[in-house]
């Protein structure tokens, strides 16, 4: 009801039909949908954001660093001074968990990105070009998948030695190769689309078809693969560190904290094991929930979700 609008301002705005409600920008609209349809997924997303935030700003949150030894305060229970207690060397568990988050973030994102690149490359080559190349790649993948993951990991670490980048490469390779199957399947079905034939018939090159017509089609499975792999990589890294094959101490890997310190003092100072355990559980739970929600929302066949379907069925039968 603003009557004093200047005439100049009115003429400046181009004559556009008034929209009833301005639609939200895409990412925001997606977030709104996430909260509405998958509240648990939204919680997961929040946990992921928290993990990222902690990882990035670890130095600000725990400025004393993860390795500040304070022998007088060793094995202190959680208190106002040491929120999560201290370990046998008097190091602040809170600081170690926070810096452990950074380590987890680095390993998780680097290894997952690597694995997705490998999956996409192998899957697209194999699925799109087919024939002998497909045969060759798939038999290699078969061979690789014959071995239990843990055996492969142990052998690889034994060869390369423990360390952050080694873990990234090994996990990236491991998850990348097994994930290529999923990408290949998506490519195989995308390749059947008439519009791929149509693009061929108008003279588009293979690279062009892959880039413009196949890749957008496998984007949704790739995103889902990414989120589910993130959690798996974090778990795998912790598992390796727990076995002493991962990132060597004193780096504050959650898995390492669980095993080295946690196990030795489990009865005297249970927080040594409980705190990193909880961190691990919460993070993996969060990522998994977020990943599930993403999968359901990006997969057109699942659009609307089972919840809505159930509601519709219930309405139909009058329950």
């Amino acid at each position: 009801m603003n009557a004093s609008v200047e005439p100049a301002a009115v003429t400046a705005t181009p004559a556009r039909p008034a929209k009833r409600r301005k639609p939200l920008p895409k990412p925001l609209a997606f977030c709104a949908r996430l909260c509405r349809e998958r509240p648990l997924g939204a919680v997961g997303a929040l946990i992921c954001l928290l993990l990222l935030f902690t990882g990035i700003f670890a130095d600000l949150i725990a400025p004393q660093g993860y390795n500040a030894i304070n022998p007088i305060d060793r094995l202190k229970a959680p208190s106002a001074e040491y929120w999560f207690g201290t370990d046998q060397l008097g190091r602040d568990i809170f600081a170690r968990v926070v810096h452990g988050a950074r380590l987890s973030v680095i390993v998780a994102f680097a290894a997952t990105t690597l694995s997705i690149v490998i999956s996409a490359l192998l899957g697209i080559l194999s699925g799109y070009f087919g024939g002998r190349l497909d045969m060759f790649i798939q038999r290699l993948v078969d061979g690789w998948m014959c071995f239990p993951d843990l055996i492969l990991l142990i052998v690889a670490v034994a060869v390369l030695g423990p360390g952050t980048w080694q873990i990234i490469v090994i996990l990236g390779l491991l998850f990348g190769i097994s994930g290529s199957r999923i990408v290949r399947g998506a490519v195989l079905s995308a390749r059947q689309n008439v519009y791929v034939h149509a693009a061929q018939s108008m003279g588009a090159s293979s690279t062009r078809i892959l880039w413009h017509h196949i890749l957008p089609n496998v984007m949704a499975p790739l995103i889902v693969l990414y989120t589910t792999r993130l959690a798996a990589v974090i778990l795998a890294e912790s598992g390796l560190s727990f076995l002493g094959l991962g990132i060597p101490p004193p780096s504050p890997s959650w898995g390492g904290m669980l095993s080295l310190d946690g196990r030795s003092y489990m009865f005297q100072a249970p927080w040594l094991a409980i705190i990193p355990g909880i961190a691990l559980t919460v993070v993996v739970f969060g990522i998994n929930m977020f990943g599930d929600a993403l999968r359901d929302m990006l997969d057109p066949r699942m659009r609307g979700g089972s919840g809505r379907y159930l509601a519709r069925v219930k309405r139909a039968i009058g329950v």
Binding site: A198, Q200, M202, G203, A204, R208
Partner: protein
């Protein structure tokens, strides 16, 4: 206006003994068997046949779009402007696709990528072949959409395929096919998925645009009614072979091959007595991995003689503008 008897025109496409096989469970399926035909400049040639007669495979063989394996072109020549397309390397044939010979597929609902805007897809042939400078692509797209009489072209360019109806999508596909002004347009059942009123519009549009561009068109269809109105000449295909050929008028009014006769009788007509029944062709098309000996049509043919079961009839000229592959004088027997 009578282009039908015009034999003096230059031959644009000359297909000789084209032979395409598919490998299936260790058997060879002869989907296209020794097919020869030609397309003249400015002509609309129809290829008619029921599902599985090899008409689409013929079209795809021309552009070497047969999925391989399992498909393989094992023989013949495809002379386009006196150049054998089967001799070209992959890069050369790719450059030719869409620029000299374009193809329109039968399913407008799935021929467009659902995740890309119309404008970008329409621009694809132009970009691929670089036939229009980059800054003029949009302009050309608008022009094309106007040509195919799609209303509100500015808005359509930014639309996604799901926002368009089937007929509109087929118009977009036609615009894409015509984008680079191809000399030959292959339309593979362009109206099958559309309802009847839209069918007529689309076919008229196709004919007008092909005439306007001075291109030729190969119209692949199973609908003889479509053919009669829009084609200059007709090839009737059965079981991977051409069984009858002639001008549209000739085939429509004086069909000679029993298969063509059968197609005519199985088609509803306005001049039929009300309540009269259509006569279907009995039986099924033959299994092309194990075709019957002799004439492939003889198991379903009401005129079949002893000779039909043992010897395959060649495609022979019977009048100036009429060829048929049949031993029987169907006119006498009818």
């Amino acid at each position: 206006m009578n282009m039908k008897a015009d034999v003096t025109r230059r031959t644009l496409l000359d297909v000789q003994d084209l032979h395409t096989v598919f490998e299936k469970d260790g058997n060879e399926v002869h989907a296209v068997n020794q097919v020869s035909f030609d397309v003249k400049e400015g002509e609309i040639l129809a290829i008619v046949g029921e599902s599985g007669s090899g008409k689409s495979i013929t079209a795809m063989s021309l552009l070497r779009l047969i999925p391989s394996p399992p498909g393989r072109i094992v023989g013949g020549r495809v002379l386009f402007n006196d150049q054998d397309l089967l001799d070209l390397d992959d890069e050369q044939i790719r450059r030719l696709r869409g620029r000299d010979i374009a193809m329109i597929f039968q399913e407008p609902m799935t021929s467009l990528n659902p995740s890309l805007r119309i404008g970008r897809q329409l621009a694809e042939p132009l970009r691929v072949h670089g036939s229009v400078p980059k800054e003029k692509v949009r302009e050309r797209c608008l022009e094309l959409l106007r040509q195919v009489r799609l209303g509100d072209p500015e808005k359509r360019l930014d639309a996604y395929p799901h926002e368009l109806s089937g007929g509109m999508r087929q118009r977009v596909m036609i615009a894409m096919g015509l984008a680079c002004l191809p000399k030959l347009l292959i339309a593979d059942e362009p109206t099958t998925a559309l309802d009847v009123t839209v069918q007529a519009q689309i076919l008229e549009l196709l004919r007008d645009l092909v005439r306007a561009n001075n291109s030729s068109m190969m119209l692949i269809t199973h609908d003889l009614g479509v053919v009669a109105r829009y084609a200059d000449r007709i090839n009737v295909m059965y079981a991977g072979r051409i069984v009858e050929r002639g001008t549209a008028e000739e085939i429509f009014h004086h069909p000679k091959h029993p298969y063509t006769l059968g197609l005519m009788e199985s088609m509803p007509r306005l001049d039929q007595a009300p309540g009269s029944r259509l006569t279907p062709i009995p039986g099924q098309p033959p299994d092309l991995s194990d075709p019957p000996p002799g004439c492939p049509f003889h198991p379903r043919c009401r005129f079949a003689e002893a000779r039909c079961r043992s010897e395959r009839p060649p495609l022979e000229q019977i009048t100036d503008n009429h060829w048929k592959a049949c031993w029987v004088d169907t006119d006498a027997k009818r």
